[in-house]
Amino acid sequence: MNTASVSLGASVSSQSRIMQLALAALLGIFVVGFVGFSHIDAVHNAAHDYRHSMAFPCH
């Protein structure tokens, strides 16, 4: 654990810390991937303007 700076999870072990951060990052990747990359038509259509505006590959 980083002692120099204030940590968000001050009392967790370093292994649990890595696990929790990795889990949060994975959740974020899943959310972005689902909205931006899903091949399901309804998802694509709902987020259509967003996909174009974020320069995700579309169509």
């Binding site: 968000l8 174009h52 320069a55 590959p57």
Partner: protein, 266 residues
């Protein structure tokens, strides 16, 4: 799961703020250009394009959802009277308010998603301490998620020619990953060898090259596309700066209370 909860909480606030800001910018800067491009798309028979823009009420959509229309220089052609018959494209939000609402939701949801990635990754490096650090993290996010993939696959308007979707998505994701690792090596490792490896990683996807269409021929005017590329790049830049800065501010308040409360909880 104390840390996980805190990360999600900070990401939710930052994603909400930055997502709403981005949706507002898009409503004025990018969506009007998309609507304009759809007019060309329908005039061209809607070939190869599989999203379901509502086929009816072309004119309504243009006038109600394009407030910044008159500010744009390129004139859109009049909508064709006989729009191409709609393919079976599944459900799509109706033009106007519903379409705008779904865009806002998409922006907020992915804003939170990007924030989760940003907060989690930055915590490994000690965390974003204040809004200024957040701005730099935001710049990195912009470089990784917009700039690098945008070099090979520039923002595209509907009806523009493009290669197969899946190879482009794979290239996009690989480029983002390689650029992120490269920037991380440069920022957090002090070895020259690793810095050189980082440059190789960042350059490699562009040497391989993004999947390109067979022909670049399109009905979309060059000027309209250029305007769109500029609008997308700038709105995304502001989004990332806001996202990073808000993470810095919220996290600062959070750790402030967390340290003082630590004694009572531990």
């Amino acid at each position: 799961m104390n840390l996980f909860r805190n990360v999600v909480f900070i990401a939710a606030i930052a994603g909400l703020v930055a997502g709403i800001a981005l949706a507002c910018m898009q409503a004025y800067a990018t969506v009007p250009l998309i609507l304009k491009a759809e007019v060309y798309e329908k005039a061209g028979g809607g070939h190869h394009h599989d999203h379901a823009a509502a086929t009816a009420t072309n004119n309504n959509a243009m006038s109600s959802a394009a407030p910044a229309d008159n500010a744009m220089s390129s004139a859109a052609p009049a909508p064709t009277e006989a729009a191409a018959p709609a393919e079976d494209e599944g459900w799509a939000p109706a033009d106007g308010l519903e379409r705008f609402a779904f865009n806002v939701v998409a922006n907020i949801v992915t804003g939170i998603g990007f924030a989760l990635i940003l907060v989690a990754v930055s915590e490994f490096a000690g965390g974003i301490g204040n809004w200024r650090q957040g701005v730099f993290w935001g710049l990195a996010g912009f470089a990784v998620f917009t700039l690098a993939p945008g070099l090979g696959l520039p923002p595209e308007l509907p009806a523009m020619p493009a290669a197969e979707l899946l190879p482009r998505q794979i290239w996009w994701i690989s480029t983002v990953a390689a650029t992120a690792v490269g920037l991380g090596l440069i920022a957090f490792r002090k070895s020259l060898t690793l810095a050189i490896l980082a440059v190789v990683l960042i350059v490699a996807p562009h040497v391989v090259g993004a999947p390109q269409p067979d022909s670049f021929e399109t009905a979309i005017p060059e000027g309209l596309h250029h305007q769109f590329v500029v609008a997308v790049t700038l709105t995304d830049l502001v989004f990332w700066l806001v996202l990073g800065a808000v993470v810095g501010v919220v996290r600062g308040r959070f750790t402030g209370t967390a340290t003082s409360l630590r004694g009572s909880f531990a």
